[in-house]
Symmetry: C2
């Protein structure tokens, strides 16, 4: 039955059935968490070997460098080389960080905020109201950085091939208070969209009214394929340089969802100019990130092919979870008008667009039934989803059986909320 075309009688009957199903869900006293894109324990188990690849005093001196001692502001050469190979960039463009690309992004925004950019433009904090473009739905932790600093966020619609570039070009080209944009170019959080070659090219070629306009290119899912169609996107660092925009882009990646979320290695990729600017400021903030952990990664993987082989193992665990979620959505909600979703080829999420005005209600219903979802609205700046539609489903963390139980609840909640809404209209 399609709720959009059902009669009031049909809806009332359906509501009764769904309410009964929902009550049954609640009676199970579930306690399930689909709120964050956390790898499951079985995925983490894949990297057990990394814990012991550096295990003796001899291991701790690597390529002539004592990993244990101070030093190495920008990372050890072998770790830069590994990320460079993964991201198809040059090692000289790579800065290694600690365990979180989020912190590298935050600190980078903070440098621009407090000190100004590499060309000597004024600090963002001294330029009055400034703005960031935010493709939506997007990643809540990106938005939180802007919100903390009072940077105004402007929603830009995400299409299947990336953000609406006509809108991006117009805003960036005409408004000098637009200082940046957040991008997750590959297997985007949460839609799974991959930026097309043309979208990447248009980003690299952006004409920017603000001389200090910056692209925050969060390539979080660069090697995180869910199918054998391993999509590659153009190298924006190289492309931007071709268009004379070399200092415009900061790219980020990490091994958080490759080895361990809490103990991986992050990196920042940017022009040599930006690198000098960063290191000159960073040397006051830090002596150097954990070199032992960098070497663990290098020895565990060997090279980018080693990373790719490891990601196949993640895929073997994750792909069936995604398939199950997608088939349950199709089975329970297909043709009902209670929601729409995309089938991602990589990344960590399934983006679900509920019947308009229902996302918050679904979140609440699921919560009361013991299933924690990412908060409704979280995928939009300020937590404000204008249509109250989008929910981010994170299938990775729960074991398959729990995920199945959680998705049963989710589907009942999605239908119940839609019918309630429809009846109230």
């Amino acid at each position: 039955m399609d709720v959009r075309t059902a009669t009031r009688e049909e809806l009332l009957k359906l509501h009764e059935d769904l309410q009964a199903q929902y009550n049954e869900c609640c009676s199970k006293n579930l306690k399930l968490d689909m709120s964050r894109g956390k790898p499951g324990a079985d995925q983490l188990d894949l990297s057990q070997g990394i814990l012991t690849v550096i295990s003796t005093n001899e291991d701790a001196v690597y390529e002539g460098l004592d990993l244990r001692n101070y030093g190495g502001l920008d990372g050890i050469p072998a770790c830069k080389a590994l990320f460079a190979e993964m991201l198809h960039v040059k090692p000289e463009n790579v800065l290694i960080g600690g365990n979180a690309s989020l912190t590298m992004m935050y600190d980078n925004i903070m440098r621009l905020w407090v000190f100004g950019d590499c060309a000597g433009n004024k600090p963002w904090s001294q330029q009055g109201k400034i703005k960031f473009l935010c493709p939506v739905p997007g990643y809540d932790r990106h938005f939180a950085i802007c919100e903390q600093l009072g940077i105004e966020m402007i929603n830009v619609p995400m299409n299947a091939d990336g953000p609406d570039m006509d809108m991006v070009e117009k805003l960036v080209g005409e408004d000098a208070s637009v200082k940046g944009i957040w991008c997750v170019p590959k297997y985007s959080n949460p839609t799974g969209a991959v930026y097309s070659d043309e979208v990447v090219r248009r980003f690299a070629a952006l004409k920017h009214a603000a001389p200090d306009f910056k692209i925050m290119w969060d390539n979080a899912y660069c090697v995180h394929h869910l199918t054998d169609d391993k999509i590659e996107i153009p190298n924006i660092i190289e492309l931007a340089a071709q268009y004379g925009n070399e200092d415009m882009v900061f790219e980020f990646a990490s091994t958080s969802k490759v080895t361990f979320p809490g103990a991986g290695v992050a990196c920042l990729v940017t022009s040599v100019n930006n690198m000098k600017w960063i290191k000159n400021l960073l040397k006051v903030q830090a002596i150097g990130p954990d070199k032992i952990n960098q070497a663990r990664h290098v020895k565990f993987f060997g090279n980018a092919a080693g990373v790719a082989a490891h990601m196949e193992k993640h895929k073997a665990i994750l792909a069936p979870k995604f398939q199950m979620v997608l088939s349950m959505l199709e089975e329970n909600l297909g043709g009902t008008g209670c929601g729409e979703w995309l089938s991602p080829k990589g990344g960590y999420f399934i983006s679900f667009d509920a019947y308009p005005g229902c996302a918050k209600r679904i979140y609440e219903l699921a919560k009361q039934a013991g299933v924690v979802l990412t908060g409704a609205g979280a995928t939009y700046p300020y937590g404000k989803d204008p249509e109250d539609r989008n929910l981010r489903i994170a299938p990775s963390y729960p074991p398959v059986e729990e995920l199945k139980a959680a998705m049963e609840v989710f589907c009942v909640c999605a239908k119940l909320a839609a019918v309630e809404k429809k009846l109230a209209e």
Copy 2:
């Protein structure tokens, strides 16, 4: 011979002898580094066991928490408890960081600079010219943070029992633009001075004209004894609370010189109020520091007694190096008027006051003879030692034989510079 009382003829003869000795030093083509307080490789070897205490998937789930996954903004409970015991504070006052207390200090200053303090006072960046007090000689990395932000630094003389508290009380009490002070209260960098109980009490009781005045209490050498006289200082966190100054103090410590400088664990200790303020801002910057490395430390040490026992092993390596440096200084420079120094009971440095106006010259002479010292002036804000006297000797890194060779050079340079100066006066 004492250069201060020698005749010109005596000095000329001495100069000739010293020049010959110096030339001989140069002819050895030494390449020695005493520039930073880096532990030696033999010290790092002491912690080999920490590399493998977490080595299996089972190990990685600790007290019910999966160390590998996301989470734990303020650190794992067991690591907070370990630092709390070491520092005689409560776990609720401890925030765990990454591998560097320097970064925790920098980020803390940056929070005050950009967002203002926990009481809602305006960000320091919006208060015009602000000032920090800097006990001198002191730690160059502290000064670099102030310099980067344009915070004016005011020198405060260090005495054997801590900073000149009359001056501190006057400046802090009367000038509302004085927003903070850098302290290394125990085995101070570089003089080795330990703040007396009375000095700590006066700090805790400070009346501050600025409502947002903060003490940066860098307890870097809290367990780093060089003798059996294991000095303890009062707990400033508790004392400050007694004086109604609980939100005034941020204390820092780390295991950088306990386990590995590049892969240790750092912590910040402060009031519960400040902790809330920090976490509210920090949650946007970070998801959580490396929990596996925290658990490595907890399992390796067990408790504070385990840390203390481990520090005995460091002492066994370090104390003879310090003794050698001190005896060579005494033997070569005692009674010559070419320098003065203190004999520290802990920490990593020997502070050397050269014949006035000679520190830079000694640095240059040593460098040309292949011995790299910490830059002359580094122990003063802006690198400006008003009397050009202070040099920081860091005996820890070179093996004993190299240290001996380096100190021979150092003593010749100290005498040569003094005689040159004296002859030119």
